[in-house]
């Protein structure tokens, strides 16, 4: 590259011959794709911020919280269950665990990228495999979380009494025991959209894992593809950090 760039080109890097951003085409486009994807997620979070005000916030003491259609629920009172500990009140423990899993899988991904920059095929494979396992763990946790949310907590005094005398527990897109309907709808949309990203991230990681394993990157002479899927995977982690704060903590 340096030998091609004449002195007049060095004066203006935007006139061609060099890449002004000093990244490859594919990596630059991945960045801009992630930017556009970030705008989509922001749209969902902005919608949440706006629609939250359709009902007043819960005013009473947090310990005495009982869901109602009239006010917005307290998230830590809704998401307080973990597998195998039915009926134990452990607010946000499971979500915090899921956050940890995703952060750890991000760390293993960045280690895979680091190994890729050293052309160390074996280490790339090791860390990518851990990343895939982390992603699958997260997805399983989310499947459990959704099942629990849909079926209901079965807590004393919770649920909606139907006209025929039956008690409705849980939530779907047109009924919600936890509070206003929009709360459940936004839960499904935001965590569902994020979960879809995790799923596609795992699939993409598997494809690249296979390509590394059969030696495609070695033939190419570089592991930039691992870097690109790494960017996508970190982005999925990044989005979860925001969802965790704005949906579960606030």
């Amino acid at each position: 590259m340096a030998s091609i760039a004449s002195s007049e080109r060095v004066k203006n890097i935007w006139k061609g011959g060099v890449s002004p951003m000093r990244v490859s085409y594919g990596k630059l486009m991945m960045w801009f794709f992630l930017l556009s994807d970030a705008l989509t997620f922001s749209g969902l979070l902005i919608t949440y911020g706006l629609l939250r005000y359709s009902k007043p916030a819960y005013q009473g003491a947090v310990d005495a919280f009982v869901p109602s259609q009239e006010y917005w629920p307290v998230p830590e009172k809704i998401f307080d269950a973990i597998p195998f500990f039915h009926g134990v009140h452990l607010p946000l423990v499971f979500v915090a665990f899921m956050t940890f899993v995703l952060i750890l899988s991000s760390v293993t991904m960045v280690l895979a990228v680091e190994a890729g920059s050293r052309n160390d095929k074996k280490t790339v494979l090791k860390w990518m495999l851990w990343t895939i396992i982390g992603g699958l763990t997260f997805l399983s946790c989310q499947a459990w979380e959704w099942t629990h949310f849909i079926n209901g907590s079965g807590k004393e005094g919770w649920g909606i009494l139907l006209d025929n005398g039956a008690l409705f527990t849980g939530a779907n897109l047109h009924m919600n025991e936890y509070g206003p309907q929009l709360f459940a709808d936004l839960f499904f949309f935001i965590t569902g959209f994020h979960g879809t990203h995790v799923l596609s991230g795992v699939v993409i990681n598997l494809i690249i894992f296979y390509q590394v394993a059969v030696g495609k990157m070695e033939k190419r002479g570089h592991y930039e593809m691992v870097e690109k899927v790494g960017l996508y995977w970190h982005f999925v982690d990044l989005v979860w950090v925001f969802v965790f704060t704005f949906y579960y903590l606030i």
């Binding site: 000093r22 970030a38 939250r52 956050t99 940890f100 991000s106 760390v107 280690l111 052309n119 965790f244």
Partner: protein
């Protein structure tokens, strides 16, 4: 098409300081998540605005570490950093603004 090129790429030794930096960032992210969790448990309900501000602040710190170190954006050229960061700064501002006072829009409609 360099298909018949032999795999002559040599494996370089591990860059220990780089790996240590990544582990350090991972520890920071973990500590912040634990701190958020503890704050959610123990903070008094009367200081709601302060609590939410702390959560948003810590989230932005976490986002900075993920984007700067894990996604390597800190080490890219300035043009790329700003191309990504400028739109994001405005959007994050919009999220925080609407979570803070989105109710005003609903009041204007009804």
């Amino acid at each position: 098409m360099a298909l018949d090129e032999q795999s002559t790429v040599a494996v370089k030794p591990v860059n220990k300081s780089k790996v240590w930096l990544l582990v350090k960032v991972a520890i920071i992210l973990g500590v912040i998540t634990v701190a958020e969790f503890i704050i959610a448990y123990t903070f008094p309900d009367t200081l709601r605005v302060l609590k939410i501000s702390i959560f948003v602040g810590l989230t932005i710190v976490k986002a900075f570490y993920i984007v700067a170190e894990f996604m390597h954006l800190k080490y890219e050229v300035k043009a790329l950093i700003w191309a990504i960061m400028l739109p994001m700064i405005f959007v994050v501002w919009l999220i925080i603004a609407l979570i803070n006072e989105g109710g005003a829009i609903l009041q204007a409609v009804y």
